[in-house]
Structures are given as C-alpha cells and as structure tokens.
C-alpha cells in the first residue's frame, strides 16, 4: 500500500484454519443483485473450489478496494473457482452494493459475524461498541473444504496479497 511514516496498527495473531485444515461449513443468506436465499458453503462447493473473501462492512473503503481488485483480476474466467464474499452488512445493503458497484460475485450476509467467529477471524471494531466484523481474510477451499491457501490481515487496515492468491490458484 502507501508508504506511511508511522506504524499502522498491528492485529493480534488470528487462529484461523490453515493450509491442510478442513474449514467449517455454514449456512447464511447468500445475496446476489436480485435476491437472497439461505445457502450452505457446501452447496457452493458442489460446483467446485471456492475462494471465500471476508471483507469489512460494505460501506468501508477496504471492501470497495477489494471488490474492485477482484473484478479486475476476474479469476473465475480462467480458474476453476467461485469467488464468494462474507460481510456483516445486511442483505438489503448488500444487494444494493452488489448492484450499484457492479460486483460480479455473490456475498454471504452475516450480521452477527458467526462465520468469522467459526473461522477465527473476528475483528472487534474500536469505537463501534457491540459491533464486530471479520478481519480481512481469504480462504481458498477445495471441494471437500480443505484449505489450500489462507491469509488473514495482520495489520489494520490490510488488503489481500492478490498475487499470492493468484499463485495459489495457478498451482491448482
């Protein structure tokens, strides 16, 4: 990112599923540009590997940057993978965000942040009492939910190392 003349905030170590581990299944409303319906992660994995992307709330700039970058990279075009987001933003906000920003991927809406909790990537937001969201993180899961690549932010803010993710996709 930008060179700053001060240290950005470090996050404590995250205890998340790592390469070779089996990631947890979950069911949440999966939102697209027209509607949402309960879907399980496993039902998405029936169609092949999934790149699970945890972002900040839709309104915060890291989510915008991340979705813009993922649109540019267009990994689904030349890799056997489905890109899927996870946010604590509600389904109404998320469907509008997908439509307004031209996001090409569905996003799980998880206002209570239970998925991030199951994945060990909870981020307590300073100054927003009672609100937690996922720390930015990325998990590449093969069809049986085995983690093939994992990254979780260690600083705040932090952005996925897109080239590393792409290398993991290329290796498949």
């Amino acid at each position: 990112m930008v060179d700053l003349d001060f240290d950005v905030v470090s996050l404590p170590d995250a205890d998340h599923p790592d390469v070779g581990d089996t990631a947890p299944d979950f069911t949440r409303p999966l939102v697209n540009d027209e509607f949402w319906e309960d879907r399980s992660l496993d039902s998405l994995l029936d169609d092949g590997p999934v790149l699970l992307v945890f972002t900040t709330m839709n309104g915060a700039f890291p989510a915008t940057y991340t979705w813009n970058e993922l649109r540019e990279r267009d990994w689904e075009a030349d890799h056997d993978v489905s890109v899927v987001g996870v946010t604590i933003s509600d389904p109404y906000d998320t469907t509008e965000t997908i439509r307004d920003r031209g996001i090409d991927y569905p996003i799980f809406s998880d206002p209570q942040n239970g998925v991030a909790e199951a994945y060990g990537v909870v981020h307590d937001l300073d100054g927003m009492t009672g609100v937690t969201e996922p720390r930015p993180s990325v998990f590449l899961l093969d069809a049986d939910r085995t983690v093939e690549y994992a990254w979780a932010a260690s600083e705040w803010p932090d952005f996925p190392p897109y080239d590393d993710v792409e290398a993991a996709l290329d290796e498949r």
Binding site: E34, W36, E37
Partner: protein, 98 residues
C-alpha cells in the same frame, strides 16, 4: 440443509400475503426455498422473469411445473395439490380454509 427443494417461494420480508402462503406450506410440511426480494417494484425483476408479474408472493413448484402469483391462488393451489381433501381442483374460487 435442504438445498434443492421442489418449491421456491419469492417473498418480501414482513409481507402478510407471503406469510399466508408460508403458513400453508408449513401446514403440509412442504420443503421450500425462500428467495427474498426488495420491496421496490423496480427491484423485483427476478419475479417478473419467473412469473411474468412483479407481485409477491410467487411460487415455482418444480414437482408440478406450476408457477403462480397472488396468495389466494397459491393457497388454493397448495390445498388442491397437497391437501388431504384434493377436491374441487377446477381452479375456481373455493373459499378454502385460508
């Protein structure tokens, strides 16, 4: 999870007509998938595509090939198709239990 039930219900949150249909689906223990749309009419294109109209609720029943709007019609259809008394299925208003 029941990922692929035969019945898909297009619904709005807190819409009484939609809840009326849900009550009958539950009454007959029918598995269904709920697809929620936004209240604004212009944001209901998915319903328009499947049913030809933007009104909610709408159901698609793949078991019978039926797609239907209007809660009264849907309730009548469910009673006729899945109810114990599968009488009077001529499609006329029967003023059923709903």
């Amino acid at each position: 999870m029941t990922e692929d039930p035969q019945i898909t219900l297009y619904r709005l949150q807190a819409c009484p007509f939609c809840e009326r249909v849900v009550r009958v689906l539950d009454e007959y223990d029918l598995e269904y998938r709920s697809r929620f749309v936004e209240p604004l009419h212009s944001r209901r294109n998915v319903i328009q595509r499947v049913s030809g109209s933007r009104t909610a609720p709408a159901i698609v029943d793949e078991a019978t090939g039926v797609t239907m709007s209007e809660s009264a019609n849907i309730v009548e259809y469910l009673h006729a198709t899945y109810g114990d008394e599968r009488a009077a299925t001529d499609g006329g208003e029967s003023g059923g239990a709903a």
